[in-house]
């Protein structure tokens, strides 16, 4: 079984399209997951929401991220730039789009895999998994063999054996990392629409359960165009700049 996981699209149409093309070049996956944060930061929320809705109608799994929640419920507990982008997004989308975002679940389970945007530990509080402690708390909040999260925009894999500290691994781009029969795994997906690991190319996760492998696939896209649109839309300039440097 092959699973493609797309996290943190953030209303970036160019990155989303490039990644979907890359996903299908590898043969249609058996499971497609949108791991939250469809909107926020980027200039194309309507395009991304509508495309996500189409994919869902075709069987894709889709969960809520903190930016989706903030836009749907008009929340302001975020950084100034994020808050600005939330308001900007709310002014441009329709009630139907808001309704779509509001109905997304916080997490979904498929077989032995749990999909949740931030962490299995208190998903609605949106904690960041940036260290072993946070990874350990996430893994102990679930009994799934595989937990997939996004939210940090920085790819990582944590390998866990019962009763021991998880092992952190920073996967190499486009190089398959192993999944172990006897371990549990926490996979942190990189971002589609706003990578922050120093590589501006979009990042999606490809899982192959037969080969027992997970790959962070990097897809270069026209981020100059996205940055141009961000500027033209009157969104903060830093949001375009960071797409160029991947930070």
């Amino acid at each position: 079984m092959r699973i493609a996981i797309l996290s943190d699209i953030h209303a970036n149409r160019e990155a989303f399209d490039a990644v979907m093309e890359a996903v299908h070049e590898r043969g249609s996956p058996d499971e497609l997951v949108l791991l939250g944060d469809m909107v926020g930061y980027g200039p194309d929320p309507i395009y991304v929401i509508e495309k996500a809705a189409h994919l869902m109608a075709d069987g894709a799994l889709c969960i809520m991220g903190n930016h989706d929640e903030a836009v749907a419920l008009n929340l302001g507990n975020m950084t100034e730039t994020a808050r600005f982008a939330v308001q900007w997004t709310r002014e441009r989308i329709t009630p139907a789009h808001l309704d779509f975002l509001a109905r997304l679940p916080l997490s979904l389970q498929s077989e032995d895999r749990l999909y949740v945007h931030a962490s299995a530990e208190r998903p609605g509080k949106w904690p960041y998994i940036r260290d072993l402690d946070a990874a350990e708390r996430c893994l102990s909040a679930s009994d799934a063999r595989f937990v997939f999260c996004g939210h940090t925009h920085i790819p990582a894999i944590y390998y866990a054996l019962p009763g021991r500290r998880p092992v952190h691994f920073q996967p190499h781009d486009n190089v398959a990392a192993p999944l172990s029969e006897m371990r549990r795994h926490l996979v942190i997906a990189g971002a589609i629409g706003q990578p922050r690991d120093g590589n501006p190319a979009a990042c999606f996760v490809l899982v192959d359960t037969q080969r027992q492998e997970v790959t962070m696939v990097r897809v270069p896209y026209d981020h100059e165009e996205t940055a141009r649109k961000i500027h033209a839309a009157g969104l903060p300039g830093w949001l375009g700049m960071r797409l160029k440097i991947g930070r």
């Binding site: 894999i157 390998y159 054996l161 021991r164 092992v167 952190h168 691994f169 190499h172 190089v175 990392a177 192993p178 172990s180 029969e181 006897m182």
Partner: protein
């Protein structure tokens, strides 16, 4: 935990005969009609309460072995999951175990060098696949017709895979007699660690003694950071100086002084006459030395210096410059030199092998044997050294080779393959009718080389043969 008897079948593998093994796993000769090579099954001892290192070692070996290929590792066949019956099925390697050979050390010196060449070749192939063995010892080396085969990857490290062992434990992992100083300090990522172990094995083969004994404690293993072993020639004066120099350079505590790549060891073992034998200052000799070193408090980490891997990725470890000096140092030879300098500049510790070919007319003719032939050979060697002089390379990084051959291209290709050359620089003469007919040296080198090739051609001053419009 299941116990297995001969005749038992696991996933289609029939166990035939139990082999002697260590404390981590049982080994069985096995058969399976699906594979056309002899098989051995390694089944880890996973009794309840077994040390977690047994599980980790099994996981690591399975992950790494199935990604390795080539003649210097056993072929991977299949593996069984830890959830059911864990095993690794691999090729049964037929050959002579180095552990049996080491018992009759000291060996004749040409035998030591031959084993060194085979092991360095195997390590170069392993390191090219991004794997460091980290437990190199005679028990893990089989000498076969196809070269040295390295066994047991339970402590190994793949540069692109998670280090499940290292992340779990900071205790040094390895074998006390051969473990490198940086491994003693908990580092598990440097190919140079395998080169240290190779040095220890060559030391043992040449002297009959283990350089550091087999210390049982961490403090005992740490001694190798501060105390050099006895000089090999002090134990066995039959050891030539060049071989001692190679062994000691493998065993340098400071990695900036150690060999960086197996290919460099290979190159030195193949050309003993070009090994630089440095005058070695004995470390901390005598009572006064011992006293002063007591007061010189140094950080262990600073002694082993930085990992070699930051350097090895910058460029080729060995550059071969093939220059045609039949007509003396002409403009093309000058341009080959310029390009060679550019390739060398990418990496501060790359080696240069300067090669020129003396053409012979028939196979078997050896012009160097008679008086005139000898003088032609020496003249060419002098010209080659003169050609390379402007590079100002230190003598331990440059070697000179006047090859006698019917086909210059074949000579260059053979040299490059035997010495694990990473980049060839070769000149190409301007096109001519006869060259188009016979094929040029550079064309053949480009077509058949196993590494990158730079072809240098003089920029045409005038455009030739172009008709006016």
């Amino acid at each position: 935990m299941r116990r297995f008897e001969a005749g038992a079948v696991i996933d289609g593998f029939e166990l035939v005969e139990k082999l002697p093994s260590g404390g981590m796993a049982s080994l069985w000769r096995a058969t399976n009609p699906r594979y056309d090579f002899s098989l051995v099954l390694k089944i880890p001892f996973l009794d309840p309460g077994a040390d977690v290192s047994v599980i980790l070692g099994f996981e690591v070996e399975e992950l790494i072995l199935k990604r390795l290929s080539g003649p210097h590792v056993p072929r991977f066949a299949a593996s069984g999951s830890l959830a059911q019956v864990p095993y690794i099925a691999m090729e049964f390697v037929v050959g002579k175990g180095l552990a049996d050979i080491v018992g009759s050390a000291p060996l004749p010196m040409d035998e030591v060098a031959r084993i060194g060449i085979e092991m360095a070749t195997a390590l170069a192939a392993l390191h090219r696949q991004k794997v460091v063995h980290l437990d190199l010892k005679p028990e893990n080396v089989i000498l076969t017709k196809r070269g040295a085969v390295l066994l047991d990857f339970g402590l190994a490290r793949h540069a692109e895979l998670p280090d499940l062992l290292g992340a779990e434990s900071s205790v040094p992992m390895g074998t006390a007699a051969y473990i490198s100083p940086e491994q003693v300090l908990g580092e598990r990522s440097d190919p140079a660690s395998d080169l240290f172990a190779l040095g220890c094995i060559l030391y043992q083969l040449a002297t009959g003694e283990e350089p550091f004994g087999r210390p049982a404690t961490l403090a005992g293993m740490k001694r190798r950071l501060y105390h050099a072993p006895r000089l090999p020639r002090g134990i066995n004066d039959a050891i030539p100086r060049w071989l001692e120099a190679i062994i000691l350079k493998c065993m340098e505590v400071d990695r900036s002084q150690r060999y960086v790549e197996a290919a460099h060891i290979l190159s030195d073992l193949r050309s003993p006459d070009q090994v630089v034998v440095a005058r070695r200052k004995p470390r901390n000799e005598g009572v006064w030395g011992a006293i002063t070193s007591l007061f010189r408090k140094t950080d262990d980490r600073s002694l082993v210096s930085r990992p070699s891997s930051t350097r090895t990725q910058a460029g080729p470890s060995i550059v071969l410059a093939a220059v045609d000096l039949a007509n003396g140092g002409d403009a093309l030879a000058g341009e080959v030199l310029n390009e060679t300098a550019r390739v060398l500049a990418s990496r501060e510790d790359s080696w240069l092998a300067c090669v020129t070919v003396l053409k012979t007319e028939i196979i078997g003719e050896t012009p160097a044997t008679d008086e005139t032939g000898r003088s032609v050979y020496l003249k060419r060697l002098v010209a080659l050294k003169d050609w390379a002089y402007p590079l100002h390379m230190p003598e331990d990084r440059i070697s000179y080779h006047v090859l006698e051959a019917v086909s210059p291209a074949d000579a260059i290709l053979t040299y490059a393959e035997h010495n694990d050359v990473g980049h060839i620089v070769v000149g190409a003469r301007a096109s001519s009718a006869i060259r188009r007919h016979l094929g040029s040296v550079s064309t053949k080198v480009v077509a058949q080389a196993l590494c990158s090739v730079s072809v240098v051609r003089l920029k045409a001053v005038e455009e030739q043969g172009r008709r006016p419009l």
